[in-house]
């Protein structure tokens, strides 16, 4: 057992209102620069939809992630030899139109235009070429709220039955906020010929070393989530940095901090680094269980011992015990990885949404009064859709999670209304009374301090005296790493 710590974000999709506040705060801090205008390290897309960049889930096209090759994992895109041969022209790389041509408006004209008969207008211009754009062709959330659903939502690869979105009575939608997943088995890192992308040992954040990156561009397509971006100005790859300058000092990421719906949780997970590859080798439908098995119980003395041996500080161990992420992902098992079948072992988790469940169940009030759990096949959001998104196609797992969430809702509603609340509803879904109370609090009124338990980096324990000796001239740029 090789116990390591990872800092992880959980998203409660039921509560995302699609306001894009998270994207904006991220953009303002990190990507408001020349060359990065089109990048949204945090983006929010509408599902069903084709997302940003367009069709990112289509791995036939971009060749992202890993595939099983016998009992080995290999990159879907290119082996090492072909990587060298395709260095000059990277065949799978997304191009700017797959995102959108970034634009701004010529606001100066509003004040500075010569006097004339017409109102001056602020015309759109391209932030790349500087040329005027007559008609804007795309944006980071072009298919927001199902707009143009016949072109966009209909091409969502998770949507097996396209008819669902053609009629108002069966249509559904939800939001999907996405950041880099800071995967345990990152395809981006594996694809980099310069070895510029690395995972930090202490907290698992995946970063691109700008000094080492030579702009070979393999990572931009190898990441199945399309979360490595190419900066056209610097000629280098960039990605979400999990706000490490904030997180290192115990502050919350900008996106999570600003989240209006309070849908996000950040905390520590302990995992077994030795078992990652074997876990990723499971069949699609078993991947969620494999994920859960990788995550270790922070209260187990053997795990704590292993973690200490690897230099995980005490404060991190304490945080791991209190971690809201551990509770949601492992203990209550309601948060699921996004597209686990890409096999990068992503380390952000999503609580699937329930939303318009009750309205199709017939008489809403009647249902609630009886405290019943609707049959899962009557859910407005098809279980199969969620399974394709969050469990590698395993509908059983989605059903388990939904049962828990519905039971929680039914039970707590009864209790809050002082109606007879039947704990049997909970037992059936695999919850107990004490756990229900905790899960309820986490999903509803949990304070900032409960949702974000982020231990700072313990710089004082990381050989500061050694680093002080070394860092004099600013040219010591050796890539350290391997294990």
């Amino acid at each position: 057992m090789d116990v390591r710590a990872q800092i992880v974000m959980v998203f409660n999709l039921d509560k995302c209102i699609g306001c894009h506040t998270c994207s904006i705060s991220c953009k303002n801090i990190w990507t408001d620069r020349k060359g990065a205008e089109y990048m949204w390290w945090n983006n929010v897309e509408t599902k069903p939809g084709i997302g940003y960049p367009k069709n990112w889930e289509n791995q036939e096209r971009f060749k992202g992630g890993w595939v099983k090759d016998g009992n080995q994992l290999k990159l879907r895109a290119l082996g090492k030899g072909p990587t060298l041969a395709n260095m000059f022209f990277q065949p799978n790389m997304p191009k700017i139109d797959d995102y959108y041509e970034p634009f701004d408006f010529d606001y100066g004209n509003l004040a500075g235009a010569k006097e004339g008969n017409d109102q001056p207008v602020a015309e759109a211009f391209s932030q790349v070429s500087g040329k005027k754009i007559d008609e804007i062709q795309g944006g980071p959330n072009w298919d927001d709220d199902l707009s143009g659903s016949r072109i966009y939502a209909a091409n969502d690869p998770n949507l097996k039955d396209k008819k669902v979105i053609e009629s108002y009575s069966s249509m559904f939608m939800q939001y999907l906020p996405r950041i880099c997943n800071h995967c345990l088995n990152p395809a981006c890192a594996a694809s980099c010929p310069s070895r510029a992308i690395y995972k930090r040992g202490e907290d698992g954040v995946v970063l691109v070393d700008q000094e080492v990156c030579k702009g070979w561009r393999f990572c931009t397509s190898a990441c199945p989530y399309k979360k490595v971006y190419f900066n056209w100005n610097s000629g280098k790859a960039e990605k979400c940095i999990f706000c490490y300058p904030r997180v290192e000092s115990g502050q919350c990421n900008a996106c999570a901090h600003s989240c209006v719906g309070r849908i996000r949780y950040v905390g520590v997970l302990l995992y077994d680094a030795e078992a990652v590859e074997a876990a990723a080798l499971n069949e699609d439908r078993d991947l969620v269980d494999a994920h859960r098995a990788l995550i270790l119980d922070p209260q187990d003395p053997a795990v704590q011992e292993g973690a200490r041996k690897n230099g995980v500080p005490e404060q991190w161990l304490e945080s791991a015990v209190k971690s809201p992420v551990y509770a949601l992902v492992k203990e209550f098992a309601v948060a699921l990885p996004l597209h686990p079948e890409f096999r990068t072992v992503p380390m952000t988790y999503y609580i699937p949404s329930l939303s318009p469940v009750l309205s199709t169940w017939g008489d809403t009030h009647k249902l609630l009064e009886h405290g019943m759990i609707p049959a899962l096949e009557t859910l407005r959001v098809p279980v199969g859709y969620l399974a394709s998104l969050l469990s590698g196609g395993n509908e059983g797992i989605i059903e388990e999670v939904l049962k828990k969430l519905i039971a929680l809702r039914v039970f707590m509603r009864s209790e809050n209304l002082k109606l007879p609340a039947d704990p049997a509803v909970l037992a059936e879904a695999g919850l107990d009374l004490e756990g229900t109370k905790r899960l309820y609090r986490l999903c509803t009124t949990a304070s900032y301090q409960e949702r974000f338990i982020i231990p700072p980096q313990q710089r004082e324990e990381q050989d500061p005296e050694l680093r002080k000796q070394q860092a004099g001239f600013g040219i010591l740029k050796k890539t350290r790493g391997g294990k």
Binding site: K80, F88, F89, G130, R200
Partner: protein, 221 residues
């Protein structure tokens, strides 16, 4: 005059620049050490330019270097007429690839509006130089036959005399003008190398061939 400019001044200037500026840039500004890809903004023409260019120029350049490093072995290898013919035809073909490639790349820069803001003087300089070099190369290879053989008896001993700081111009003064220009182009390319994106040549990403897929970095290990 022209001879001493091309065969004494230029090579030593190029050598001095490449030997001094390259390490300086490596130590002081590694952030810009890349090929500065523009595939993200324009890929259709790039495909038809960048692939022929690289696949043409790499073997041709390698052949020049091998000839310089192991003249005797190469002489022996080319001793027979058939081998020489095959090598020459391959060289000509690859050279054509390089010319077409660099021409496409040049036109691409000129025609694509998207590339305006990522195109600098250095890019034009490099593209013109490379096109010139490739074009004089195939001219020589076609009109002044058996260059791969006479290169070994003229330019190679001259180059050795340069690197041993005793330049012997006698080897090269009688060469046709186009060959002299080809040599001048080569020295210029070496001279601008440390200042332009050509530095990407000096970095071969081969470490990853033996590395494990995942790379961890620890602050404290």
């Amino acid at each position: 005059m022209l001879n001493s400019l091309i065969f004494i001044a230029l090579p030593y200037m190029a050598l001095a620049l490449v030997l001094l500026v390259t390490p300086y840039r490596f130590l002081s500004n590694r952030l810009t050490w890349s090929a500065y890809s523009t595939q993200f903004l324009e890929r259709k023409m790039l495909f038809w330019g960048i692939n022929p260019w690289h696949y043409g120029i790499i073997p041709v350049l390698a052949a020049h270097i091998v000839g310089f490093a192991f003249p005797n072995q190469v002489k022996a290898f080319l001793g027979n007429q058939e081998t020489l013919l095959i090598v020459e035809s391959f060289g000509l073909g690859l050279g054509l690839f390089a010319v077409i490639g660099s021409l496409v790349l040049l036109l691409r820069r000129a025609n694509s509006g998207m590339l305006k803001r990522v195109t600098f003087t250095g890019d034009w300089l490099v593209l013109y130089l490379l096109l010139f070099q490739a074009a004089t190369g195939i001219y020589i290879s076609y009109f002044l036959r058996w260059g791969s053989a006479w290169y070994l008896h003229t330019a190679v001993p001259y180059l050795w005399s340069v690197v041993s700081f005793d330049p012997q111009l006698a080897y090269v003064t009688d060469l046709p003008l186009v060959v002299k220009l080809h040599a001048a182009g080569a020295f210029l390319i070496v001279a601008v190398l440390p200042f332009t994106k050509l530095v990407h040549m000096l970095y071969l990403p081969v470490d990853f061939l033996k590395d494990p897929p995942l790379l961890y970095r620890w602050r404290s290990k």
